[in-house]
């Protein structure tokens, strides 16, 4: 029976079957490390699990961004046609966000947390050996493990071969499904990028509005100092404006905590997906070029056919893996978009409801005063 620490359940958005979850990961507690050569940040990664393959049920390690990057590369290499979740970018070019500002670190921490959890929820990736090592190995164990595996030169060789076959790889025999996927991703990528820009623009406009509103309320208070009869009304208006100002701040926070990170994640996802589709094409390309070569060299048919058989298997595997993962990704995307935009709408509703209540109570106080005045006028 899998033990699910209930304290951990609420921190995650379940993608697949929530009842079968047996791996819980948190990323928190950023710490800065200063050495002679460099300064960097490490994050605490806590894992709680009931899986048998893990020696212990709880692990706590510290990882830096480089380690996450290593993990992502290993996963991509091991599963070229699976959709590996996006990693936050190495640098943020736009804006004045400094590399080690609190805002930047917090945004990155949340994204890294998401990254690991998405892997944990993936039916295949969750059982990846490098993933397990990432979660459990102590710092020195991890660095020694990193040094193993294909060296730099062989990795470069892989890249060269990949580039070569990508020149005109796999497009002419591409199954219809994948052409459709490609077309879809091209449009999706465009749209998600535009949405990302719109969302940032909205955030910016809301912030400018908030800045002006901060000055607006106090003027009414200042005015009330020179008045007698209308001083209370003016102070009332000032207080309403200040409350609406705070409500705007909350609305902005909602955007930056929810919509902006999700849209950004899917911008990265669209790049990843284009990459995955290309790699599938490359694998197909390898097969196609071998088949073409065979057509020109009849006598050595036997030698090739075994190779071709292997490549055909490879292609079929890759295609199936991608198709399955694609369906899964689309469902998750739909779910994420639905909940994120619904949340945006709820945020705005809350904002308007708060402002409405504020102004309505002010109005009520004013009309009460009017009635009191009228009554006192009627008295002889």
């Amino acid at each position: 029976m899998p033990i699910s620490p209930s304290s951990m359940i609420n921190q995650y958005k379940f993608e697949d079957e929530p009842e079968l979850r047996d791996l819980f990961i948190t990323v928190d507690d950023p710490e800065s490390h200063i050495t002679a050569i460099e300064t960097f940040i490490t994050y605490r990664v806590v894992t709680k699990t009931s899986r048998g393959e893990f020696d212990s049920s709880e692990y706590e390690v510290r990882r830096r961004y480089q380690d996450f990057l290593w993990l992502k590369n290993k996963l991509e290499a091991a599963h070229p046609t699976l959709i590996i979740p996006p990693l936050p970018e190495k640098f943020i070019m736009k804006g004045m966000v400094e590399r080690f500002s609190d805002e930047f670190i917090e945004t990155r921490r949340k994204a890294l947390h998401k990254f690991l959890n998405r892997i944990a929820d993936h039916p295949t990736l969750t059982f990846n050996e490098d993933f397990k090592i990432f979660l459990t190995a102590q710092a020195w164990e991890l660095s020694s493990h990193k040094k193993q595996g294909p060296g730099l030169l062989s990795r470069m060789g892989q890249t060269v071969r990949a580039v070569a076959s990508s020149v005109r790889g796999g497009v002419k025999n591409r199954p219809e499904t994948f052409t459709e996927m490609n077309d879809y991703m091209e449009t999706f990528s465009q749209k998600i990028n535009v949405l990302d820009k719109i969302a940032h623009r909205i955030y910016k406009e809301e912030r400018e509005y908030f800045n002006e509103m901060k000055e607006y309320g106090p003027i009414h208070t200042l005015w009330s100092a020179s008045e007698e009869d209308i001083a209370d009304s003016l102070k009332g208006v000032a207080s309403c404006i200040d409350k609406c100002c705070k409500a705007t701040e909350k609305r902005m926070a909602g955007l930056s905590e929810n919509l902006l990170p999700i849209l950004h994640e899917y911008v990265l996802y669209s790049e990843i997906l284009m990459g995955v589709l290309k790699r599938r094409d490359q694998i197909q390309g390898e097969l196609d070029s071998k088949v073409d070569a065979l057509a020109n060299k009849k006598p050595e048919k036997d030698l090739f056919s075994e190779e071709i058989g292997k490549l055909e298997d490879k292609v079929e595997c890759a295609n199936n893996a991608l198709k399955a993962d694609w369906d899964r990704w689309k469902q998750n995307m739909q779910c994420d978009m639905r909940s994120t935009f619904t949340n945006v709408a709820e945020n705005n509703l809350r904002y308007y409801e708060e402002c409405l209540a504020t102004w309505e109570s002010f109005l009520a106080s004013q009309t009460v005063d009017l009635h009191v005045e009228e009554d006192s006028e009627d008295k002889p």
Binding site: E205, S233, V237, Q334, T342, A345
Partner: protein, 424 residues
Amino acid sequence: MWCGRREGRASSSLCPAWLMLHESLFSSSEKMEDCLAKKMEITVSEAEKRTGRNAMNIQETYTAYLIETRWVMRAHSQSMWMLDSLWRRYSEFELLRNYLSVTYPHIVVPPLPEKRADFVWHKLSADNMDPDFVERRRIGLENFLLRVASHPVLCQDKIFYSFLTQLFFPFFQADSRLKALNATFRVKNPDKRFTELKHYSDELQSVISHLLRVRARVADRLYGVYKVHGNYGRVFSEWSAIEKEMGDGLQSAGHHMDVYAASIDDILEEEEHYADQLKEYLFYAEALRAVCRKHELMQYDLEMAAQDLTSKKQQCEELATGTVRTFSLKGMTSKLFGQETPEQREAKIKVLEEQIQEGEEQLKSKNLEGRDFVKSAWADIERFKEQKNHDLKEALISYAVMQISMCKKGIQVWTNAKECFSKM
């Protein structure tokens, strides 16, 4: 106070018989307790672009406003609705107001709407020919006429009446007297209440302009927030084209985002009317200051006259007794070049005594004038204060009502959008 378009305008020229009948409005036995506003309906119902030649024979474009008046005429036990209308331009309104300011210096004369568009936020045009500006000015001019017509003193003015009903309007040049109001001088003993009032009007002017400026910036930003949401519409629509299950939700949500973005135009237009209400009191501050200035002018005049009288009395005394208490060039020269003859001295004393008598009479009447002015001015100021408190309170309430309406619209749009999103 009604507002609207009228058809079937009566002729705008009046024959002497009409004039006499209109005169009857003033000379009727019943006291003019009721203001003109209660007897006569006044509207500025239309605005029209015109071209013409001005005083310097240069072609210019300007806007003319149609003033329509309507009242009941009772004659031979019958009553009829009378209609009248004529066109006037802004500069004529200015002449009327100058006339009123100078003729009734103790009255806080209602201000005109602004000459040029000020406190604009970026979408609004600063162009005087812009139709929105013209429309708001039309309303402002009508408001001005109604304020004058409902003032217990101003409504009885015949020049005002002829402004409303007669093409011929005595072009009153009030420049010189207005200039006097703007001169700088030092008053020793002004009435404390007027000094306080002047401070108040300065504060009022400063705080309202600050408020209007910030409001314009807030409006600008609010416009930005709403309009950017409009971008969602097109993207959602294009995105929905590649989605199967999400398509409908996206598409309809996009439509609601368009509605949201479009709603800001009406909201901000309404807010402009609120801004205009505040602007009126911004300009009223100037009218308040004018009354204070008039008091200072009169007080200064009085102080100068008293000072003059005192010095003449002193001169007289010195001449009579032969003692020189004050230094004067004449005194010095007479000491150096010999004194005057007794006859010369007598003549001087006589002239001075005449002047002193005149001076004392003048001082008495100036004193009286001053006191009357203070009394009547302060009565109008009290009236103004009540009007101001009532109007501003109402304006603040109407602002709250506008905010409430904006919030309700927002709630509706986002409720609809939320429903669409949840169906994605």
